[in-house]
């Protein structure tokens, strides 16, 4: 029997706002324990949450970029449970009425595009973390670090529209790229600012009903998500083929062993007793606000790839490489605006130097000037590479360095004639042989001229002048 998998993904993305979602504390990562806390995010008596407007705007922009319907009224609820990393003993999260519903994003799959539905996007606050003294089991003490408490998150829930681990990976990467393009999330999976849980089930191909699903957690890279999905699909198929059934459970990905394992301990059937948080008014979003935010949506990755490939004369492959970062694509476009020339060369340069671009070590002029000087013969390919490296090291403009280091090449035929004449005069025998048909000697003369000019002559021009003089 042939099986197919049904995959839905839940992404928790940390919004890159300056402050937390319900207080003015910094939302920055990596501060000393409990440094970024105040009475509000540590759940002291009598304090109240005040919604961060920026966090709302970031979520609305995400909703618009994923074609979701932004809801005019959404409501924050309390999800009640006891845990030492949750100071209020409830998490404020949108529940019945989320901020956005029913969107989609398109991914590349099997050479075409496939549309993956987005069920909902809602806002919520993060919890803190516990630090255990020694191993978790039998720890002598546990300490709470509440820095992460109330850091703003948005949860993006997909429809169960993916059928393969590759589609899951493609969806995640595309979603991450969109969030990074919007500058609403840094997309860093390792630091936990972009987290993914997966719901997976399998069913005989052609069957309409879904199989029993397992929820996968603890996957902290795109690759791990794909590997965990692959493993879990295989496991479920084997289970069924062996005459067994799939249990509805939460499983953790063990990246070291490359397996999913059931979450330890019996899962408690939680009753979170959700109810609307009386401390927060319903969130009302009017059309004017949405329209204003719509104007801030930049060109998104899919559109950018299509435009660069169709209008800039570069390959789709290069367009995708350039569009992997909004900054890199912008850099490329700025560079070809300064010097058009052959955009393929500019694209290759931008891709080659992408780390320096990301680090802000070179400007679009650097690449534009390097490409222009090479195409007009002012510098050699080697000199071009040397010069960009020098720009990165010194921060000086490329053309200034070219002069300082004497890396221009002589491309003026007139200026080379004298040297060429001198070289021919100094090697009469070789000149004779060349004229008698030993064409291979041309490279000997080129070498001599290059030596005489200390490598600054443009070899192409040297050849032309030599041919004329020797001819």
């Amino acid at each position: 029997m042939e099986f197919e998998a049904v995959i839905g993904l839940e992404v928790h993305a940390q919004l890159s706002t300056q402050s937390k979602i319900f207080c003015a504390c910094s939302a920055a990562f990596g501060a000393p324990p409990n440094e970024n806390t105040c009475p509000v995010c540590t759940g002291m008596p009598g304090v109240l949450p005040v919604l961060n407007r920026k966090a709302v705007e970031f979520t609305i922009r995400t909703a618009l970029a994923t074609s979701c319907a932004v809801q005019s009224k959404s409501v924050f609820a309390r999800k009640n449970y006891f845990y030492p990393d949750l100071p209020k003993a409830y998490q404020i999260s949108q529940y019945e009425l989320p901020l956005a519903l029913a969107g989609h994003i398109d991914i590349e799959a099997d050479g075409g595009t496939k549309r993956i539905g987005i069920t909902r996007i809602h806002m919520e606050e993060d919890a803190g973390k516990l630090v255990h003294e020694g191993e978790f089991a039998g720890a002598q003490a546990s300490l709470a670090d509440l820095n992460r408490c109330s850091v703003p998150l948005m949860e993006i829930v997909s429809e169960p529209d993916m059928r393969t681990p590759e589609e899951g990976g493609a969806y995640l990467r595309r979603l991450r790229d969109i969030l990074v393009y919007l500058e609403v999330c840094d997309g860093n999976m390792e630091e936990g600012s972009f987290r993914c849980d997966a719901n997976v089930s399998v069913r005989p191909k052609g069957q309409k009903e879904f199989g029993t699903k397992a929820e996968l957690k603890n996957m902290n890279s795109f690759r791990n998500v794909e590997k965990a999905l692959e493993y879990e699909i295989r496991r479920q198929v084997e289970q069924i083929e062996d005459g067994g059934t799939v249990a509805q459970e939460t499983r953790l990905w063990d990246a070291a062993a490359n397996v999913t394992i059931p979450m330890r301990g019996k899962e408690e059937a939680h009753d979170y007793r959700y109810f609307p948080d009386p401390d927060l008014l319903p969130l009302i979003v009017d059309d004017a606000w949405i329209d204003a935010l719509r104007k801030t949506i930049p060109e998104l990755p899919a559109e950018k790839v299509a435009r660069l490939a169709s209008t800039c004369g570069i390959s789709r492959y290069d367009a995708e490489l350039l569009s992997s970062s909004r900054a890199l694509a912008d850099f490329f476009e700025a560079s070809v605006k300064i010097y058009g020339g052959n955009p393929k060369v500019s694209a290759n340069e931008c891709i080659h130097w992408k780390d320096a671009v990301a680090a802000g070590k070179i400007s679009p002029e650097t690449i534009a000037h390097a490409v222009e000087d090479r195409e007009t013969g002012k510098i050699s390919a080697t000199a071009s590479k040397t010069l960009v490296e020098l720009v990165i090291r010194t921060g000086k403009p490329l053309r200034q360095l070219r002069e300082e280091k004497g890396l221009s090449q002589v491309s003026d035929a007139g200026a080379l004639e004298e040297t060429v004449a001198k070289v021919i005069a100094a090697n009469p025998k070789e000149a004779e042989s060349y004229r008698n048909g030993k064409a291979g000697l041309l490279s000997f003369f080129v070498g001599q001229v290059m030596k005489e000019t200390k490598g600054k002559a443009n070899p192409k021009i040297v050849q032309e002048v030599l041919k004329k003089k020797l001819g």
Partner: protein, 487 residues
């Protein structure tokens, strides 16, 4: 001098007839003598209050601008967080809690120039109608120390009635300011929901809680509300409306005001004849001064108590979940793990009434019961609000008793929570509707126990309340301070 009104005391300090130090010293001395009899204060700030009074006098000597309550000693219900000053909420679980911040109300009172004498006793987490659930022992009624002062702001009402401060600020979730004000013969105001910031006011039921003044006269209450009202960005439910000149409203004539008498409130079983008699006097006082009485109906009144006892415990069960012994407050000494520590902390830290309400609320919110209880209660709440909207289309204010009976005896109702809950039957609908209410003294029972009249008005119509309550007060003057034996 303890019998002066708040306005008198403020004027005398301003006119340098008396210094803040003298006034504060006199009240601290009086607290020292009287408080052991009634237990109105859980914390008295002897040194801090004197230091504050000294600073006020120095400010005045320098000729700097003075706040409206400059140098006047006041008290706050121990539900308002005060920076570096123990804030217990009447509970063992917060018996050593030192807040690192001030409640908005505490800030406003300090900004007005007042001097904080101490923190008033209260029912634990404001859950109670008699101040008997306090971990720090019950407060007694200054008019009859064998009786309860009402609750949950019983400490505040008793302190004001006994002349242990010129004014206090309490909180009212289902009558917790108005009912003790009525039972102690003082004035208490429950402002419109959103009028006074809840920031730093320890939450009982967030959608119902509201801070408000307790004073000995209506103009004092108006003055005090002017100090504590106003928008606060730290409270999302606080409303951004200008604060009117409330004291001016207390001087306006009541002539032409339409006063509604809700049929359902006077049909309540167990309405004490003395209360009924006092209400007739209050109505007469208004009519004589030119107000017009109109009979009205608030048809959903009989559902109010049941609705309240679902919504308030539900919110409380969530609000009180944070007291787990992890970060602050009482922590049980146990050798076991996390769950045992949390369970024991809460078992030992909370009293019986608080536990009862946490259980009711947890049940009302649980899966499978939510719609039948919490969902239904919210719908009834809307109907109760509509009752009032319809009524205020016809009348300016509504007159009712505040409490069905005068103060009952200590221990009389502690064994019977349901009877206790019914003592808030007249005050609860106002919180459910979010409208303002006031209790003003309007007579005495045969045993010499105070009786209060409640006036209600539409949202943000506190001025109407002050106008009508001042008219009752002018016609039916009451003694300034309870005549405590040996005081």
């Amino acid at each position: 001098m303890h019998e002066w009104t708040l306005q008198e005391a403020a004027r005398k300090v301003r006119d340098k007839e008396i210094s803040s130090r003298e006034l504060t010293r006199a009240l601290l001395d009086r607290i020292e003598r009287i408080n052991p009899k009634i237990n109105a204060y859980v914390t008295v700030l002897h040194d801090k209050a004197m230091a504050e009074a000294t600073a006020r006098d120095e400010t005045q000597a320098k000729g700097e601008a003075l706040g409206v309550l400059h140098g006047v000693p006041l008290g706050l219900k121990d539900i308002f967080c005060t920076r570096g000053i123990r804030t217990t909420c009447g509970s063992r679980i917060l018996s050593y809690f030192l807040p690192p911040y001030d409640a908005a109300v505490a800030e406003k009172v300090a900004a007005s120039g007042a001097v904080l004498l101490g923190k008033h006793n209260m029912d634990e987490f404001a859950m109670g109608s008699s101040t008997e659930t306090s971990h720090f022992g019950p407060t007694r009624n200054p008019w009859a120390t064998g009786r309860i002062p009402g609750g949950s702001s019983g400490g505040t009402a008793a302190a004001v009635a006994a002349g242990l401060c010129y004014a206090g600020v309490g909180t009212d979730t289902g009558g917790s300011i108005r009912q003790p004000a009525s039972l102690c013969g003082v004035v208490g105001v429950k402002p419109t929901y959103g009028r006074v910031s809840r920031y730093g006011m320890i939450a009982f039921a967030s959608s119902l809680d509201q801070g408000g003044p307790v004073t000995r006269t209506v103009p004092d209450a108006a003055m005090m509300l002017g100090v504590i009202a106003g928008h606060d960005r730290r409270d999302s439910t606080s409303v951004d409306l200008p604060v009117p000149d409330y004291p001016a409203a207390a001087e306006r004539p009541v002539k032409g005001m339409k006063v509604g008498l809700p049929r359902e409130y006077f049909e309540v079983e167990g309405l004490d004849p003395a209360v009924r008699g006092a209400m007739e006097k209050a109505l007469d006082a208004l009519v004589v001064q030119g107000a017009q009485a109109v009979e009205i109906s608030l048809p959903h009144t009989s559902f109010a108590v049941a609705t309240y006892y679902i919504i308030a415990p539900a919110e409380a069960s969530s609000n009180l979940a944070r007291y787990d012994g992890v970060r602050y407050g009482y922590r049980a000494k146990v050798a076991g793990g996390l769950i045992e520590m949390m369970s024991r902390t809460r078992a030992e830290g909370f009293g019986a009434e608080v536990k009862r309400r946490i259980m009711i609320g947890t049940y009302a919110l649980s899966a499978g019961y939510y719609e039948a209880y919490y969902g239904k209660a919210q719908k009834v709440r809307t109907l109760i609000r509509r009752d009032f909207d319809a009524a205020f289309a016809k009348v300016d204010a509504i007159l009712t008793p505040t409490s069905p009976t005068p103060a009952f005896r200590l221990g009389e109702k502690t064994g019977d929570p349901l009877t206790m809950y019914l003592s808030d039957i007249f005050t609860i609908p106002c919180n459910l509707a979010g409208i303002p209410g006031i209790s003003v003294p309007c007579g005495m029972s045969a045993e010499g126990l105070p009786i209060g009249a409640q006036l209600l008005a539409g949202h943000f119509r506190e001025e109407t309340l002050f106008t009508a309550a001042a008219a009752i007060e002018r016609a039916l003057p009451h003694p300034p301070v309870a005549p405590l034996e040996g005081a």
